[in-house]
């Protein structure tokens, strides 16, 4: 027995050492193979969505963190409203009524998502440095990994900056327990993003950042953060003739609407598209899950099946009114609003109160002149909706009395793509391969136009804007009825005369971005960059409140200077033990 005990004691230490199963320690990653996987891990946050417990919802942080910024950019910018009904995702309600508090968990989730992305970038730098010290990778390899990591880190920080302004900057040496947010971090962000511009033109893979992508992103950051239009102009002029990350050519796609078709997601227009993958074992997390709510609400008969979110505003729709083919830059389009079908029984046969199908009321869509881009940006009754047939009105909307009569469209897939380019592993087909066009070539041209205006070269700016308009005017890309006629009275023209002054040029540019890039998550960030957020949103809000659904949707919403930034999440301030402070602009 003593012998047994003796053996036992000597074995005890070994017996009590139980290594972890099913995970990797850092040493295993110090190789090109390991670092490549860490790089993929850092890029995987570019869609803004990871199945992580960001909030109280299991696997939370989906729609509020997604790269397309439909909540933060589009809804906040009043080109769309929440849609659905009042009780669904109620955290969005205060965001669209400019009354969100620092305890709104959407704000916290977005914060955590961005900093998770940053921590992944930093882990690349740490592991690459150790791998280099250990002789497991070469200097060139280490430099490339670190360059990619810094490019991404810069971008993620910029995303945080344009949300909150007063943000902590995290590099691989920063201690999260002591970092503050009172310093100006713009120089560090620019330094990181500048590092990205040293990347090669061909990154080898469509989902990576290359020189061109990094140049555009840095230009955006310089414009947004520093109003450094001159610096941006240089970068954009070079980027204009650059390449897609996989070496493909970039340029304007010949027609407008097809840009948003899934099959064209990596087409010539796409400078950088966030890659969505379907049926990849992620339970549809990687399949555009951030936009999955943003489909019409008529299961089986309209795309997606859920959930009736993200409905365009009337004001946004009205903006597409043209006179002589040109938009109404003085916003007088609201005095000739685009006709809607609010309150009308749907075009499809629907049972009425008596239980029998009622005869359809007549509804003729708006007959006035419209920019053809409207019907690629907004679903409206009586107009073809991809290959889903004509939009039938109220029965595609979850609750017209709350969200109005319009439907989203740009992220919607075609009926013929259901089950082929949509995920089938989860509960709805709204999970698609329709990657978010993070940088479109049209965006590059309009940024260039903006820089040229600041540089005083109004004609150059007009040239870029006209390039965009000329493409939109290509009637091959207009929405057509089944009989081949145009779906509406489309009229679009170019600016044939010189812009009279800078103010006019700015108005034309602002309007062009609204029409061309509407519903793509840019609007509120654009307004902030132009410094017109408060006045512009006040104007739109006043108009939207007069809609039959406006009262329910916006209630007593008012806009103050606080609408320009989102609050630093209270949870993060609490967790920092006072190291982080609320943005003074919001105190």
């Amino acid at each position: 027995m003593l012998a047994i005990i003796g053996i036992w004691s000597s074995c005890k230490q070994d017996f009590l050492n139980v290594p972890a199963t099913g995970s990797l320690d850092e040493g295993l990653l110090q190789s090109t193979k390991g670092l490549d996987a860490l790089v993929v891990g850092a890029y995987s946050m570019i869609d803004g969505v990871a199945d992580l417990p960001f909030s109280w919802t299991p696997g939370g942080g989906i729609w509020e963190t997604t790269a397309s910024n439909w909540v933060w950019g589009s809804i906040r910018g009043m080109e769309a409203n929440k849609g659905t009904d009042g009780g669904d995702q109620p955290e969005i309600n205060p965001i669209q009524t400019y009354s969100e508090t620092a305890t709104n968990y959407y704000v916290n989730d977005k914060w955590r998502e961005v900093y998770e992305a940053i921590s992944r970038c930093n882990s690349i730098i740490m592991v690459a440095t150790k791998a280099l010290d250990g002789g497991k990778i070469t200097q060139d390899q280490a430099d490339n990994y670190i360059m990619q990591a810094r490019a991404l880190r810069g971008w993620y920080h910029f995303e945080a900056w344009r949300m909150w302004e007063k943000i902590p900057y995290m590099d691989e040496t920063t201690d999260p327990a002591t970092v503050t947010n009172t310093e100006d971090v713009r120089p560090q962000i620019i330094a990181d993003m500048t590092e990205g511009t040293k990347l090669p033109l061909n990154a080898g893979e469509i989902g990576k950042f290359n020189k061109t992508v990094c140049q555009v992103l840095l230009a955006k950051a310089l414009m947004q953060m520093n109003h450094d239009y001159a610096g941006a102009l240089t970068l954009l002029n070079e980027a204009k003739t650059g390449q897609k990350p996989d070496g493909g050519a970039i340029g304007l796609a010949p027609t407008y609407g097809e840009i948003f078709a899934i099959e064209n997601r990596n087409d010539i227009e796409s400078v950088y598209t966030v890659q969505y993958s379907i049926n990849d074992g992620s339970g549809a997390i990687n399949a555009g899950s951030g936009e999955v709510l943003n489909f019409p609400y008529k299961s089986g008969a309209s795309p997606g099946g859920c959930c009736g979110f993200f409905d365009p505003t009337q004001e946004f729709v009205n903006s597409f009114r043209t006179v002589g083919g040109l938009p109404l830059l003085d916003n007088t389009y609201n005095s000739d609003p685009v006709k809607n079908d609010y309150g009308l029984v749907a075009n499809a046969t629907a049972p009425g109160a008596s239980g029998v199908v009622e005869s359809d009321p007549d509804f003729t869509p708006d007959q006035g002149a419209l920019d053809p881009r409207l019907d690629w940006s907004v679903g409206r009754r009586g107009i073809p909706y991809w290959d889903w047939g004509l939009h039938t009105g109220a029965d595609w909307i979850r609750d017209q009395t709350y969200s109005g009569p319009w439907s989203p469209k740009k992220q919607v897939y075609k009926k013929s793509q259901e089950g082929k380019l949509t995920d089938i592993t989860s509960w709805t087909s709204g999970y698609t391969a329709n990657g978010y066009r993070m940088i479109r070539y049209a965006d590059v041209l309009l940024l260039l136009a903006e820089c040229e205006i600041e540089a005083g070269s109004l004609d150059n700016a007009r040239g870029y804007i006209n390039q965009i308009r000329a493409r939109a005017a290509n009637s091959a890309g207009w929405v057509k009825m089944p009989d081949g006629t145009f779906a509406a009275n489309y009229q679009i023209a170019q600016y044939t005369t010189a812009f009279p002054d800078k103010a006019y040029a700015e108005k034309a540019l602002y309007m062009e971005r609204k029409l061309e890039l509407g519903q793509e998550g840019h609007r509120w960030f654009d307004l902030n960059r132009w410094g017109i957020t408060v006045n512009e949103l006040k104007r739109v809000l006043a108009y939207e409140k007069t809609m039959p659904w406006g009262d329910k949707l916006y209630g007593s919403a008012t806009i103050t200077d606080k609408a320009k930034w989102y609050p630093i999440p209270q949870r993060q301030i609490d967790l920092s033990n006072g190291k982080l402070e609320q943005n003074p602009a919001l105190k």
């Binding site: 199963t21 109280w56 890659q275 969505y276 993958s277 990849d280």
Partner: protein
């Protein structure tokens, strides 16, 4: 070294007591006599002592004894296990024969304790005992449910689902992460006793304080439940017992609307909101001109019109049924002096009251023991295997069937009866499922009957084995070496199919099959040396041992494929799916534990008792520097009633006071991998389609865990003081304990700042928590002629307090008792676990509290001077308390609005016997706990989804005519003042008392049963859960949940009435 010092000191203590007290005789008179037991003959081994002295003797095999006493005034006390003590004054007698009566209240019974067993009267620690009859009194297949109300200090919370395991908590909570007690089944530690057949169990001991439990050291802090299974006995005994019965789902929620009422409510909302789907005339009445097409039209001033296709579905009735329950147990026991066995077979079938749900369970047991080498060696084994199949439903979740009852409109038919209708989602023809896809504005819930029917072919299997073998060697009389090897093994499999749906507003558009499988187990080797010796008046029981445990071994996998050609159940294999959805597996990181332990119980004169325990554990869960923990305890008892100064107090038969102090540990709070930094990845968290492949994503990694090699044991320090007494001729017994349990170094994973990334935060020893409480048990037993009575009352309290969470972390919110409102439980320093936190509703706003102002040309309702400013405030909506008095309702005004922890829980067991009849009643109750009724979110607010609503909202809600209502105005407004905040509106009193069991039995008279060659036959009828007394408005106030977030009702599967017939037959 510490351990040896303690042991040495303890040994010296014992030795010194032996020497100093062992030989103090005075000699005056010799008494002889014989002790017999009533109806049994001579009784050997009886302690005969002279009261108030150390003088004593023990009866021999013939029951005779001889003893010298100081004089005629001496009082002799006769005591023996299982018999009532008897005291006789010597007087002039020299021969004293006595007859002892069988013990009534079990003071002498043998109680299984840590690694040994003891007489109850010798115990110094706090141990609760559950009798086998109590375990099978309520027809549950799960031992955990049977523990409810049976012993003090234990709170058990279950639900009515057949396969559910109840939550067992001993003396409150001592961890944020894991408060499950340690279960020891025949010496084998296990996390799961749910699979055991209650009929196989001989006894259950619940070790509550450190004095009793700390011999289990690092795993004892949540209490230890020791389960001993039945052994064979000499002779042959065959028992067959069975019961069969019916479970009645009852009427379901009584506060939901029918279709007509729902239409009325819709129009009340229109009226309150001054909206209408019709153009209104001057008087505000609807004209025939529509502005939209409502579900419920208006036919003048009469009632709203209901569409012809309407149903009037009671969804509770639709998803429930009267369900069968039956159970059969056959046990065979027998043996000789040298070989004994017990074998049993159990079959149990319980259908759930929710349609298609069921559990079938089959158990076998074989226990045997062989004695040889002149009774010096015993060799035995205990083995049980359970095979069960389950088809259950989720509970306390928004999507669970009971929850859907509160969320699906009554207008929706379970099945469409025609004529054809082009609906929102589908063209409905007769026979189709009905659903929210019929027309707009029916909400987003899916048809629960359709879901349950489609799921009926899903299958889940589980198989578990618990077993041990042991050898027990008697080295010399009173010194035994015992070695036990045991373990558990489990294995399970599940197949679940997801159907394409068409009837809902939000449909499932693709089918898929998911299969999962798992296996796992653990093992233990224990070697003990036990000394059990009596030297005159000194009794020593000591046990020391070594133990090695490995647990948490196992793997699991699950995989899913989609796009099945047909939904035919026979076609459901993974390879038949056209599309791979997922394929995952897990390998568990096991935990190893190596321990040495020692316990010594010493009693002197049966009157002074001392006990000391120490255990040293090493665990693989912690880094090498913090791996070992030492857990000592001391306890003492004093039987005051044996003291001479107690002689005059004759109505007290026995009185013992005792106390204990000790520490116990907990390591379950922390994952075995907590000490390691790790990277990893999964498709959802870190893969990216970097190459644009569309249908696959490239593998990527991320930091997944920040390690903490410095984590160590959670330690709790427990004090317990108690007394046990019997009086009035041993008819009444009282046992009372007060305890205090303080946990320090509590493991907690403080949320890291977002800037640290989202890798799992490490657990650190930072928090602290304390519990105090009183456990009490009162019993009474008597017989009046043919009428016998046996009653007991069990009383449990705990007061839990969080003492510390982490630096700068005064609280953490947890859980989603309300999936729509956010976390309603706040765990805060200075408060108990899981308390409810939110705004306090003081009343509803009245019109008199507002005036109108012109703001930017808009007439706006404004609070009067003195009324705190509140977002969305309007007449008929919630008025929250301005806790900080700053004139504005802000998050700072939130306060603690309820506490789900009961003030006390209790069980009352009453048994009457009259001739051959017996009647048993068992009542269980909980007092003083609050409930967060999340269902109200859905049914008391119109805009909380377009689902079912409450009668309260229609009939008792605020209107100008009902200004004193407590239910807010029926309105489509969703804002801060209505349904978006956690507030006291949802809090209800959760106290309840439930008649768990009422049973009437009849035993066939022996003269009849013997004629048909059976030993005994008892038949009974039984009602279970016949009534529940409560003010709670929901289905069932018994609510479980995570310890950090419990007490919320999100559609709870209720305990239901059962009507049972049963019999027990002995051959």
């Amino acid at each position: 070294m510490q351990i040896f010092t303690i042991v040495r000191r303890f040994a010296l203590l014992i030795l010194s007591m032996v020497i100093s007290t062992g030989f103090l005789f005075a000699q005056e008179k010799t008494i002889t006599g014989k002790v017999t037991a009533e109806g049994e003959g001579p009784l050997p081994g009886v302690n005969v002592t002279v009261q108030g002295t150390t003088t004593g003797a023990i009866t021999d095999v013939n029951g005779t004894y001889k003893l010298t006493v100081p004089g005629p005034a001496a009082v002799l006390v006769y005591s023996s296990i299982g018999y009532v003590n008897k005291a006789v004054t010597v007087g002039t007698q020299t021969v004293i024969d006595v007859t002892l009566q069988t013990e009534v209240l079990g003071l002498q019974e043998v109680v299984v304790t840590g690694y040994t067993s003891q007489r109850r009267r010798d115990l110094t620690g706090s141990i609760g005992v559950v009798q086998p009859a109590e375990l099978t009194a309520v027809p549950t297949g799960n031992v955990t449910n049977a523990l409810q109300g049976r012993t003090s200090g234990v709170v058990v919370t279950g639900n009515g689902q057949p396969n559910s395991t109840a939550k067992v908590r001993i003396r409150g909570f001592s961890s944020f992460e894991n408060n499950d007690p340690l279960y020891i089944v025949d010496g084998v530690p296990t996390q799961d006793i749910a699979s055991m057949n209650p009929n196989d169990i001989e006894s259950i001991s619940v070790l509550k304080d450190a004095g009793a439990a700390s011999i289990y050291g690092s795993r004892a802090s949540n209490g230890v439940v020791i389960v001993t299974t039945k052994k064979g006995s000499k002779g042959t005994n065959i028992t067959y017992s069975m019961y069969i019965g019916s479970q009645d789902p009852g009427k379901g929620p009584d506060n939901l609307l029918n279709t007509q009422e729902y239409a009325d409510l819709q129009w009340l909302v229109y009226k309150n909101d001054k909206t209408s789907p019709y153009v209104l005339d001057e008087d505000g009445n609807p004209t025939t001109t529509k502005v939209e097409n409502p579900i419920y039209g208006w036919i003048g001033n009469a009632n709203p019109e209901i569409p012809e296709w309407h149903a009037n579905t009671n969804w509770y009735d639709a998803i429930t049924r009267s369900a069968l329950i039956q159970n059969h147990d056959l046990s065979l026991s027998g043996g000789s002096d040298n070989a004994k066995f017990f074998a049993a077979l159990g079959v149990r079938q319980q259908d759930g009251i929710v349609i298609y749900t069921n559990q079938n369970k089959y158990t076998v047991r074989f226990n045997s023991e062989f004695t040889f080498l002149n009774s010096h060696v015993k060799f035995g084994e205990n083995f049980t295997a359970t095979y069960s199949t389950n088809l259950g439903v989720s509970n306390l979740q928004e999507g669970s069937p009971i929850s859907i009852v509160y969320r699906e409109q009554p207008i929706i038919p379970v099945k469409w009866t025609g004529p054809d209708l082009v609906g929102l989602s589908h063209t409905f023809t007769a026979g189709d499922w009905g659903g929210t896809g019929i027309i707009g504005n029916l909400g987003n819930v899916s048809n629960p009957v359709a879901n349950l029917t489609r799921a009926k072919d899903n299958k889940y299997w589980d198989m578990r084995i618990i077993g041990s073998t042991y050898i027990d060697v008697k080295i010399i009389q009173g010194l035994n070496f015992r070695s036990t090897v045991g373990g558990t093994l489990y294995n399970g499999y599940g197949v679940g199919y997801t159907f394409i749906t068409y009837e809902n507003s939000e449909n499932q558009l693709s089918n898929s099959l998911r299969e999962n499988a798992y296996y796992g187990g653990d093992w233990v080797i224990t070697n003990t040396l036990t000394l059990d010796k009596t030297f005159g008046q000194h009794k020593i029981l000591a046990v020391g041992g070594y133990e090695a445990v490995k647990y948490g071994i196992g793997r699991d996998m699950d995989a899913s494929r989609g796009n099945y050609f047909t939904d035919d159940p026979l076609y459901r294999t993974l390879d038949n799916g056209a599309q791979i959805n997922s394929a995952n597996s897990n390998a568990y990181t096991p935990t190893t534990l190596v321990s040495e332990f020692l316990r010594a119980d010493y009693s002197f004169m049966d009157r002074y008792m001392l006990s000391a325990t120490v255990r040293r554990d090493g665990s693989s869960r912690f880094g090498a520097d913090n791996r070992y923990g030492v857990f000592p305890s001391f306890s003492a008892g004093w039987r005051i009633s044996d003291e001479s100064f107690f002689q005059g107090i004759s109505f007290i038969n026995d009185l013992k006071i005792r106390g204990s102090w000790g520490t116990m540990g907990n390591q379950l709070a922390v994952s075995p991998t907590n000490q390691y930094y790790a990277y990893g990845g999964s498709p959802g968290t870190s893969f990216y389609d970097i190459g644009g492949a569309v249908t696959s994503a490239t593998q990527g990694f991320r930091p997944t865990r920040i390690g903490n090699p410095n984590a160590k044991w959670e330690t709790n320090e427990t004090m317990d003081f108690g007394f046990e007494t019997t009086f009035m001729n041993n008819k009444i017994g009282i046992k009372l304990d007060w305890y205090s349990k303080k946990t320090k170094d509590l493991l907690f994973a403080p949320e890291l700042p977002g800037t640290a990334g989202s890798a799992d935060a490490p657990y650190v020893n930072i928090a602290a928590m304390s519990n105090t409480g009183v456990d009490a048990e009162l019993s009474f037993k008597d017989k009046w002629g043919d009428l016998g009575f046996d009653g007991s009352f069990v009383f449990t309290t705990y007061t839990n307090n969080i003492d510390k969470i982490a630096e700068g972390v005064p609280f953490f919110d947890y859980g989603s008792g309300t999936t729509r409102l956010g976390s309603n439980n706040r765990n805060q320093v200075g408060h108990p676990m899981s308390a409810f936190f939110g705004y306090k509703v003081i009343s509803l706003f009245q019109e008199s509290e507002f005036h109108t102002e012109d703001i930017d040309g808009v007439t706006t309702l404004v609070e009067n001077e003195g009324v705190p400013v509140q977002d969305g405030a309007a007449p008929g909506l919630f008025k929250y308390a301005d806790t900080d008095g700053d004139g504005e309702i802000t998050p700072a005004d939130r306060q603690f609005i309820g506490n789900p922890n009961p003030k006390f829980t209790y069980g009352v067991n009453l048994t009457f016997t009259y001739k051959n009849f017996d009647l048993t009643a068992f009542l269980y109750g909980s007092y003083g706990n609050d409930i967060f009724n999340s269902n109200r979110y859905f049914i008391d607010f119109w805009p909380s989804f377009q689902g079912q609503k409450s009668k309260d909202l229609l009939y008792n809600s605020w209107t100008t005519d009902r200004p004193n209502a407590t239910v807010p105005m029926a309105s489509n407004t969703s804002n801060f003042s209505t349904n978006t905040q956690i507030c006291s509106y949802y809090i209800e009193k959760g106290s309840y008392a439930r008649l768990k069991n009422l049973q009437l039995g009849y035993t066939i008279p022996e003269n009849i049963s013997s004629k048909i060659n059976i030993k005994s036959l008892r038949v009974y009828v039984q009602g279970v859960n016949l009534f529940t007394v409560t003010k709670y408005s929901g289905l069932d106030p018994e609510l479980g949940g995570d310890d950090r977030a419990f007490g919320s009702d999100t559609g709870n599967y209720p305990e239901v009435k059962q009507y049972i017939f049963g019999l027990t037959l002995n051959f």
